[in-house]
Amino acid sequence: MATTDPSSAAARRQLANMALFLGPATVLLFMFFIAPVVVDVFVAFTDMGRSLEVTEFTTANFERMLTNDSRIGPTMAVTFTYVLLTLGIFNVTFGLLLALATTAVPERSGAFFRAIWLLPRMSPSVVYALLWAWMIGPTDRGLINQVAVGWLGLEPIDVLSNQPMLLIVLANGFIGASMGMIIFTSAIRAIPEHLFHAARVDGAGPLAVTWHITLPALRWPLSFITVYQTLSLLVSFEYIWLITNGGPFYDTMVFALYVYKRAFENGQYAYGAALSLILVAIGIAASLFMWRLLDMQRLLQTPRIEVQ
């Protein structure tokens, strides 16, 4: 030990620590985030069809995408409507309302209502989607119509044909809201209790407390949920696929579902890969834009005070 150069031993230890602490995360990042994009780019430049064989490298997929695919524009429009509505109504706004409401009531009933809102997230997605499908069945076999037609004597209600966008926003929103609810609840819990007492002493009512104490403390969680949920809504499509299958016609065909259908229901894997690069590009652009807009840099700055 005496002959070893202490500085090189320290350097070695530092390297070992780096490998130990950063290694697993780096491997995961590479395997699940970088490698798929690399594979996707590779496949996008091939002619891989339903037999999964590659016989040539080509730019034909991109030519087709740019010149010969009339569905890209409309599906993009559907995607933006869907993301904006689900995010605006449920994932952020309703999540926030739930957090505010369930922290304002006594702890036990608050926890009870939060648990109820977590139920959709806990049920397997196929079961959840099948329940929706059964509920909205357009004939009098559907649950809503059993009540509407059978008991109330109304005309049959057909949400799937008449309000398909509302349907997918509701189905996704009921699940999405709980994520915001949990994050916001924990952020509200982290606000020092004495601030609320002080505000009350100064004569602030519940609205003023919410406005001047709670909401300012939620600035970062709100930004985080907005960015995170935007990205996840952009690429998620399983409930839409199971409930409306993108229809009627192309009314709920979000871009991610369109890509999936091209690739896996038509067996055009290479073209699907090329299309999904658009999603990758939009995802990166959207996150960079929101990073700047919401000033997320500041969230990650080194704290100016010492935390013990």
Partner: protein, 456 residues
């Protein structure tokens, strides 16, 4: 410790030796050849897989009789796909990762796609060398397995798609028996058109006898082809080997769809229904006047409506899809399912023989009478079981005169999927018939490229 180790080591050694001594005679001289079978899990044909297993059992009994130690085992994989199109794509994926089966069950129109990818074993030589197995197969069925001059499969069953109509409902609105029973003949002669059918269905709905006039499948599938045929649409140019479309004919077909939806005959949200809702409307709930689908619905109709072979035709009638214009030809569709042997199989000849055994009268009749499919061999019609239980199939057989098949083109699956989007667009009022036809043609051109001929 050492002694203990030695002791356990010796014990293990003896055990292994003893086990191998017991197993050796069985494993060395007997040879088991395992063949894999891929079949779609389908309530309307469980014996498509079952008959292959039964054929292998039969072969094993023959082998046993010869004193041979060789046995054939069938490993069945039943794929849970939504339809035959989805199943074919899954099968492609299985082949791509070297998990392909030796024998597979296919909707016949997909055979071209599998031949193009070198996944289907050409069976001409095998068929010619074994007339005992194949000579009785109904000639027209061979067209369903043909592709570019070769035969790449063995027909497994056949069927007739038709309009089922509820006779009771016609009686309720005051139609006389002569009209009710004469309807199929009027359709066949071309005097009763598909527009007349919509008008009749409207009468039934307006008369309060039915809630829905005409119901159809809610998803992509073969049924729509017979409607297209009624409007003169021929999807295939056999000389060129290419698919084809006529925008004007397609628009005419879509016009009729719109006419039927506007009349309240076809529900505007038909494509949003589930299969269960579609079936129930004609079977248990009896809310639909006409359903168009395959003859293999008959067993389920008998069961759910409590009918027998004596009372069936008092309650339900069958007709072709009527001609679009007076004096035109009606149409119906037969959609055979086939067995194919993988070109990648290590035992293609053996696999073909097993398929051959499964295609004989006894086994195929089991499938035919239990699931309501028409038989593949002439001789089956003379079998006592078929005569007793196959009354519906015998009644349907004359309809085959107006039957057509789907073309065995590699891209027919995509073609049908795009046409279905047009149907959905028209019925739900998203597009006008003319726009929908233009949309479908444009999508077909983008998707099929050179494989499509646009007629007008």
């Amino acid at each position: 410790m050492t002694t203990a180790k030695l002791f356990f080591g010796a014990l293990t050694g003896i055990a292994v030796f003893a086990a191998s001594a017991v197993l050796a005679p069985a494993t060395v001289s007997a040879e088991e050849v395992t063949l894999q079978l891929w079949s779609r899990a389908d309530r309307s044909g469980p014996l498509r897989a079952g008959n292959i297993v039964a054929a292998a059992d039969q072969l094993n009994r023959m082998l046993e009789a010869t004193g041979s130690e060789t046995r054939v085992a069938i490993e069945v994989f039943e794929n849970n796909a939504d339809g035959f199109d989805a199943d074919a794509l899954d099968l492609f994926k299985a082949f791509a990762v070297d998990r392909g089966p030796d024998i597979y069950v296919l909707a016949h129109e997909w055979i071209g796609a599998f031949v193009e990818e070198d996944l289907a074993f050409r069976l001409d030589e095998h068929i010619e060398a074994n007339p005992e197995l194949y000579d009785d197969i109904i000639d027209t069925l061979w067209a369903s397995v043909a592709y570019k001059g070769g035969r790449y499969g063995i027909p497994q069953d056949s069927e007739i798609r038709m309009f089922f109509y509820d006779k009771e409902m016609l009686r309720q609105i005051g139609k006389d028996e002569a009209f009710i029973e004469g309807l199929p003949a009027m359709v066949e002669s071309g005097e009763f058109t598909i527009y007349d059918m919509t008008d009749l269905a409207k009468e039934v709905v307006d008369g309060g006898a039915a809630e829905y006039g005409i119901v159809h499948r809610p998803n992509v599938g073969p049924d729509f082809q017979m409607l297209m045929k009624s409007f003169g649409i021929d999807q295939y140019d056999a000389d060129e080997g290419k698919l084809q479309i006529s925008e004007t004919q397609l628009a005419a077909f879509f016009e009729w769809l719109k006419y039927s939806v506007d009349a309240g005959v076809i529900p505007a949200n038909m494509t949003a229904w589930s299969w269960d809702e579609v079936h129930a409307s004609f079977r248990t709930d009896k809310t639909a006047f006409i359903k168009f689908h395959g003859i293999w619905n008959v067993p389920a109709q008998l069961e759910t409506r409590g009918l027998t072979d004596d009372t069936y035709f008092d309650a339900i009638g069958w007709t072709h899809s009527p001609a679009a214009e007076e004096g035109g030809e009606p149409a119906n569709l037969s959609h055979p399912i086939i067995y194919a042997v993988s070109a990648k199989s290590e035992h293609p000849e053996l696999a073909a023989y097993i398929v051959g055994l499964a295609s004989q009268n006894y086994l195929n009749t089991e499938h035919a009478v239990t699931t309501g499919h028409t038989p593949i061999n002439h001789g089956q019609a003379a079998m006592p079981r078929f005569i007793e239980e196959g009354w519906a199939l015998r009644a349907g057989a004359p309809m085959l005169e107006y039957a057509s098949f789907m073309p065995n083109h590699a891209m027919i699956g995509q073609y049908n999927a795009i046409v279905f989007t047009g149907i959905e667009a028209v019925e739900t009022g998203r597009l006008e018939p003319k726009d929908a036809a233009a949309f479908v043609v444009e999508e077909l051109q983008a998707e099929l490229g050179d494989e499509l001929i646009v007629l007008d």
